[in-house]
Every structure is written in structure tokens, then in C-alpha cells.
């Protein structure tokens, strides 16, 4: 559950919440890292729960030696009061048997905090795309009915593609198309819960494969920026600041003494 850093809990009323789903290539989590690092967001609370594997580490967004030693935990909430933006970053995998409990926890927290809208960033396996999904952009979105009323026209105007409902058995005409997000983790569950609980929730996802997912994270966050305008949308400028925790993503290089 949410535990604030300061004695007085922060108010999230009217804020936009961005949260990542633990999905293929951890693209959403990398994208959230870029947002927090670029906007120098301030940590306001912890999501202290048994649904996630515990981990701690030094400050991933440290800019100087003074704040480098500050420890950061598995799931934390950061805010930018000026932009009325809140971000939940999740840094470790979900414990499988508790994924439903985690979804319930998130939904009840979103409702209690009175966020104006929630954006779930996610990804899906590129190799499981349908024939029609193979063409064009790898980015998709989904909106709950409440969000469609609020922001549907804006997304259509941007030319975004809505996630297709696919037939579970291609070629079989009688099969009813359904929503499928393979590799998306809790994305589909969260979206379904959002529809049921009448949350103003959108999902923005990218089709990708496992590997070096840094370019996918940039693709996702640039796409999100077209809608939310988090940073100046100038194509020429280097918009996003890479955090220090992205060094040595694939481990140290080989020691020279082995040769």
C-alpha cells in the first residue's frame, strides 16, 4: 500500500498518473525511468507491498554525490507538481500468485487518490502479431469508456492506432474477436478492471522483442509525449535524459587479464 515519505500525505487530486506494466523487454519501466529522470521528479512515497520481489539500490536518478547514496526501493511514486503529473515506478517482477491482489491494490489506490486520468505503459510480443498488425506502426492504444469520452477525439486526431481485437482462431469465421496482449503482464487485467471500475484509464503499448530495449523505450516515450506534452516536442533537441542506472545494462565488460 502507499506510504508517504513526508508526514503529511501528498494530494493527487486532478493529477495524471503514469504507471508501467512489467512486460516484454521492460520497455514501460525504461520509459518511466526516462520520464522521472528528465523531469527531475521528486519522490513522494513508496508502494510497500508483498506482491513484488524486494530490491533496493542507490539513487538511480542521482545528479550529485550528495544524493547518490539515498536508497530507492522496489516501487515508488514520484511527482511533478507543476505539470500535475505523478509516476509510479516498479523495479522488480511481480510474484505470479499475487498478480490479482496487485491489480486490486492499484485500482483501489487510483480511485482513492482521485487521479484525473491514468496511463498504463506496456509492451507486447512482436512475434505474436496478426497479419494486419505487422503493417505500419508498432504502437497501439486502448481506452476505457470513461477515457474515450474525455480524450478519445484527441487520440484519433493524433492518428493513433487502437489495439485490434483479434480472432483466437484465425480463419475461423465464427470465433469472436477478443483483446489479447501477449507478454503484457497485468496490462489486460488492469484494463479490464479499469473498464469495470469506470476509471479514466488508457493503455499505450509498443510491439517489441526481448533484447536491447532502450530504442523501444525512446519510441514509446516519444509517442506518449505527442499526447501528454511532458517535454518540449522539438524533434531536433535531445529531449530525454538517460539516468545513471542505465550504465552497464548488460553487465561489466570482460576483464582484460583473461587474454
Amino acid at each position: 500500500m502507499f506510504i508517504p515519505v513526508e508526514a503529511t500525505p501528498p494530494s493527487f487530486k486532478g493529477f495524471t498518473l503514469i504507471l508501467p506494466a512489467i512486460a516484454v523487454g521492460n520497455v514501460a519501466q525504461l520509459a518511466v525511468d526516462l520520464i522521472v529522470s528528465t523531469l527531475s521528479m521528486k519522490r513522494v512515497g513508496y508502494m510497500h507491498t508483498d506482491c513484488l520481489v524486494p530490491m533496493v539500490g542507490p539513487n538511480p536518478y542521482a545528479t550529485s554525490a550528495e544524493d547518490a547514496g539515498e536508497i530507492h526501493t522496489t516501487a515508488e511514486v514520484y511527482t511533478d507538481a507543476e505539470k500535475k503529473l505523478a509516476v509510479l515506478q516498479i523495479r522488480s517482477p511481480l510474484i505470479q500468485s499475487r498478480s490479482k491482489k496487485f491489480r486490486k491494490l492499484l485500482v483501489s489506490w487510483i480511485k482513492a487518490s482521485e487521479f484525473s486520468r491514468t496511463v498504463v505503459l506496456s509492451s507486447s510480443h512482436a512475434y505474436q502479431r496478426d497479419d494486419q498488425q505487422l503493417k505500419g506502426t508498432p504502437l497501439r492504444y486502448l481506452v476505457t469508456p470513461a477515457m474515450r469520452t474525455a480524450s478519445g477525439p484527441a487520440l484519433t486526431e493524433l492518428g493513433w492506432m487502437e489495439m485490434e481485437r483479434l480472432s483466437p482462431f484465425p480463419g475461423l469465421v465464427e470465433a469472436v474477436p477478443r483483446l489479447s496482449i501477449p507478454g503484457g503482464g497485468v496490462t489486460k487485467g488492469l484494463f479490464t478492471d479499469g473498464c469495470q471500475e469506470e476509471l479514466c484509464l488508457a493503455v499505450v503499448l509498443v510491439f517489441c522483442s526481448e533484447g536491447d530495449n532502450v530504442p523501444d523505450a525512446f519510441t514509446l516515450v516519444n509517442h506518449l509525449n505527442e499526447w501528454l506534452l511532458l517535454v518540449d516536442n522539438d524533434v531536433r533537441a535531445q529531449k530525454w535524459k538517460v539516468p545513471g542506472s542505465w550504465r552497464l545494462l548488460f553487465g561489466s565488460s570482460h576483464p582484460p587479464s583473461i587474454f
Binding site: I3, Y46, H48, T49, D50, V53, P54, M55, V56, G57, P58, N59, P60, A62, A68, G69, E70, I71, T73, T74, S92, I95, S97, R98, G244, S245, W246, R247, L248, L249, G251, S252, P255, P256, S257
Partner: protein, 294 residues
């Protein structure tokens, strides 16, 4: 002020755990606490607490050799002790009543499913009954984890153990170890300088650690992460020390690295390392893993 030391077993070598055992000669009795999830109930086939009678002088290590069991749990003996066997309906808390000069208590938390267990040793200055939940009279508590605690139980374990202490005046230190191959660094001199100690501390910690802080992109996982997260969130001063070593089995050099962890702790005096005879009593070396060349 109450100091809690958690010794984690992160690898079969367990140098952190061994070092802690050497430096904390204590004696007491062993109890059981139900460590399982709240919706599970004690069964009638549950292991009963055992007490080994015997006494030894305070200068000697507390280890009683016949207590080392298959799970690697080390228990302690008490001069005269009586155990209150835990009633199945009571979960989480245990009451120990000692008699005579039994001044110290131990609490063993056993995971019956996975055979992982931990012992908590306490030093107290008060004779007579002792309530684990009331840590008023204790100065130092040593929590020794000898098995691997599964990822889905680490959070509950931490809540159960640390939740039993009053937060006022509490300070936690965690000792753990890791292979140096898992340490990410641009500088390749790190592997030649192993073993070395790094640490992380919570925001409310006022300790001035004598070893460098862990730097990005390295992280702590496992039970030390669970303990440190709990302390960070609940504003308990805590420091976690991790020793990166390339040694397969515990040795005196690796264990000596942990001395830095105790230099900034008030009352604890770090003596010289014990003799080889004492080491041999509880460190298994030349443990044959394979029967290929017997």
C-alpha cells in the same frame, strides 16, 4: 538502544553468517515461532522445540557441536532452561521463561516447508521471564538466517521478525555476501581487490560507515533488500553490508572484511579472530559435492 543484526545466507559459503557467530558468544534457549502465511494453521505434525542442556563459560563460543543440524541451524544451550511450548493457536509471538541464570534468549523461526530457518539470539540483562515482543531489556539481538528464504516469503518474513520489535531506539544491521562476478563496475581492478565490503543505508541512519557506498548500477536483492526496504519505509536506521568475494568457501580473509561493519557500532568490541580449532568446529571445508572420484 536495540541493535539487531541480521546475518543472511546468500550463498553456500556463508562467510557473513560464520563471522557473526564467532563474535557473539551468547547462550540461551531455543523457541519456535510460526513463520507461515497468516491463513495457514499449525498442524499436529509440526516440529517441537528442542532444548539442549549444558553450560559453558562465557569466553568460549556459544556453539554446541551436537546442535549443528542438517539444515545448518546452530542452536544454543542453556544452563538450566525450560521452554514454554508454543500453542498452535498463537502465531508470531512467543514467551520464554528461563530459570536460574538463563539470561539470554533465542528465538528460532522455522520454515517447515522449505527447511530454511533462522535463529534469533538476544542478550538481556534481566533474569526471569522474557517476552520477545517486549524488547525493552535487550541491547543486541542477532538474527541468523541459515536457509534460503523464497522470494514470495521475504516480505512476510521481514514483517514478522522486525515487526516484533519496538521501533523506538531500534537500529538494524544486515550482513550478506555475494560473488564478485555479480558486481558491475567499469573499473576491472575490483576483482583483484576482492574481497571488499560495500554498504547501503536508510535515510534515517546516522551511522558513518567505514566502507564505500554501493554505487549504481548495482543493487541488493534477497532478504537484505526486504529488510532494508522495511526499514526505509518505516524510518528505522539500518545499514546493509555486502561482501563481494571470489572465494568459494569461507576463509579468514573474507571474514576479516566484515570487521569494518562493526567499527561504527557503539558497544560492540571486535576481538581478534579465533583459532583454527574453533573454526573447525562449525565451518565445513572440503565438503565433497560429487561422488565421482571417491
Amino acid at each position: 538502544m536495540l541493535q539487531v543484526f541480521c546475518l543472511c545466507m546468500c550463498s553456500p559459503r556463508q562467510p557473513g553468517r560464520q563471522w557473526g557467530m564467532l563474535q557473539f558468544p551468547m547462550r540461551g534457549v531455543k523457541l519456535s515461532v510460526d513463520k507461515r502465511a497468516p491463513n495457514q494453521h499449525a498442524s499436529s505434525t509440526e516440529r517441537k522445540t528442542t532444548v539442549h542442556a549444558g553450560c559453558w563459560r562465557r569466553e568460549e563460543p556459544f556453539l554446541c557441536t551436537h546442535c549443528v543440524s542438517a539444515t545448518g541451524v546452530v542452536c544454543m544451550s542453556a544452563s538450566t532452561a525450560s521452554i514454554v511450548s508454543r500453542s498452535p493457536s498463537k502465531k508470531g509471538s512467543s514467551v520464554c521463561s528461563g530459570s536460574g541464570d538463563s539470561r539470554h534468549c533465542a528465538l528460532q523461526i522455522t520454515n517447515l516447508q522449505h527447511l530454511a530457518s533462522c535463529c534469533v539470539y538476544m542478550e538481556q540483562n534481566l533474569e526471569g521471564s522474557f517476552d520477545f515482543q517486549n524488547s525493552l531489556y535487550c541491547k543486541v539481538i542477532l538474527c541468523q538466517i541459515s536457509g534460503y528464504i523464497e522470494e514470495d516469503q521475504q516480505f512476510q518474513w521481514t514483517e514478522k521478525v522486525l515487526g516484533g520489535f519496538k521501533q523506538k531506539g531500534l537500529s538494524v544491521t544486515v550482513l550478506s555476501d555475494s560473488p564478485v562476478a555479480e558486481y558491475k563496475n567499469m573499473d576491472h581492478a575490483s576483482s583483484s581487490s576482492s574481497p571488499f565490503l560495500l554498504c547501503l543505508q536508510t535515510k534515517s541512519s546516522t551511522t558513518n560507515p567505514q566502507c564505500p557506498l554501493l554505487e549504481q548500477p548495482n543493487i541488493f536483492t534477497g532478504i537484505q533488500a526486504a529488510v532494508l526496504s522495511h526499514c526505509q519505509v518505516n524510518q528505522i536506521p539500518a545499514v546493509a553490508y555486502q561482501c563481494y568475494s571470489d572465494a568459494i568457501s569461507p576463509d579468514s580473509i573474507t571474514m576479516d572484511t566484515y570487521k569494518l561493519a562493526f567499527t561504527s557500532v557503539g558497544d560492540i568490541k571486535v576481538g581478534p579472530l579465533p583459532s583454527a580449532d574453533i573454526f573447525n568446529k562449525f565451518i565445513k571445508t572440503n565438503h565433497i559435492q560429487s561422488n565421482l572420484y571417491i
